[in-house]
Assembly symmetry: C2
Homo-oligomer: 227 residues x 2
DNA sequence: ATGGAGTTGATACGTTCGTATCCCAATGGA
DNA sequence: TCCATTGGGATACGAACGTATCAACTCCAT
């Protein structure tokens, strides 16, 4: 590596320091988070989420993230390879957390409840109905937009191995449908529609009651009405 | 105004220049675009659109906008009060242009075509089916995300005086519906759903044929099928 | 021709950003 | 005891950004 044209100019205090610097330059303290982050990494990633949700992804600078996480900027620098990797990891972790949370919440309903409640709960995971989902949706929206010009982020969105539409299709089929209904087509519009309604809700362009009414109508329409 | 703590320090070449500077400081060359932009303003605004669509709204810096528009950065500075105002104006103009284009395109179909074609064309205005709509949707998406943390942009989205949902509701009602169908609820999910499908299309998470199939299915479902 | 108004060129200022570097403290194995 | 590794503090660097300012140019009425 060249004498470096950026950062403080190397004026070593001793040969030991020089050797140490050389070593650290050869293999930097990269910590690639693949599956499970350390406690400190989670702290920082959650700070990214909060800033992205409240002030936008642009405001998530290294210094601001550090302040929000209650650590120094050097710590952010140390625990991630760079800002971009931090953002990618933060998106992956949010994605994973959302899936886990949704699975848990729906699994809790799975026994002793009719299919309509299950389908409804599944779709409502996409709506900003509480602080957690609201924050998550805001962060996801920011990431979606950025992913349009950032292939690394786009791949996180696209490599989703369990499309939500399939789950909704299965739920509709299992519930039993009224007439000649194509469960897959209904699931497509339902998932896309609930996503769109969620964005309107985020903007307060619709009221929560309005969304609920629309959702109820279409659930009634698709599913068999019992009594 | 104070002697200014930013920019070049005032060292006047003559009393005439000093007087001119004083005058220009008192009433800056603000050009507030309300309805119709000048040719130069349009040039710059369109540069903003192109950059926002291709590289994201973050990359739309004053200098980059100037290069894209083929003018100097000073020109951008001169013709708008500041970067933020430029962004707001660019959004308003895009909004207006989209409405005009949609109205024209649909008006061209209004005679000698059945309601289904009309409704379909209306919804397809939201889909990235050609370069123009694709660019527009990318820019709008970027703006939507930014509007979540920028009240000035949010107000442009929210003060929309002619909700698309109403128009779709009217089209459904006018076309005549099959059974007991609530046109307003159908319009809500259709508009929100097509928006969501458009985002998937932008991401290439769905194919164009897939979207077309889903849309066809639901149009068939809602409207009376004519022999 | 003179000069004012509108517009553009050239340049600089202050801030913020991502990151590089030097340094030190704590820890733990040899 | 010694020393390498890990984790973090302090600071600095170069780039880019938004913007302010002076100077100069083009019209055009006087």
């Amino acid at each position: 590596m060249r004498p470096a044209s950026r950062g403080r100019r190397p004026v070593y205090c001793s040969r030991a320091c020089q050797a140490r610097a050389y070593r650290s330059r050869k293999n930097p303290p990269v910590s690639v988070v693949v599956d499970e982050p350390t406690a400190r990494q989670r702290l920082i990633v959650e700070a990214v989420w909060r800033i992205a949700a409240e002030r936008g992804l642009d405001m998530a600078t290294v210094r601001e993230i550090a302040v929000e996480a209650g650590v120094s900027a050097r710590v952010v620098q140390y625990h991630f390879k760079g800002k971009h990797d931090l953002l990618v990891i933060a998106l992956r972790l949010l994605h994973r957390d959302n899936e886990r949370r949704a699975r848990d919440r729906i699994a809790a309903l799975r026994d002793a409840s009719n299919p309509r409640v299950l389908l409804r709960a599944t779709l409502e995971e996409l709506l900003p109905l509480d602080d957690q989902r609201r924050t998550s949706l805001r962060v996801m929206t920011a990431y979606y937009t950025r992913s349009l010009t950032d292939p690394a982020l786009a791949s996180v969105f696209l490599h989703d191995e369990s499309p939500l539409e399939d789950m909704v299709t299965a739920l509709i089929s299992a519930a039993g449908t009224r007439r000649s209904i194509d469960a897959a087509r209904e699931a497509d519009l339902l998932v896309a529609g609930v996503t769109g309604l969620g964005l309107d809700l985020l903007h307060q362009r619709r009221t929560r009651a309005d969304v609920r009414r629309t959702l109820d109508y279409h659930l009634d329409r698709i599913l068999q009405t019992q009594p």
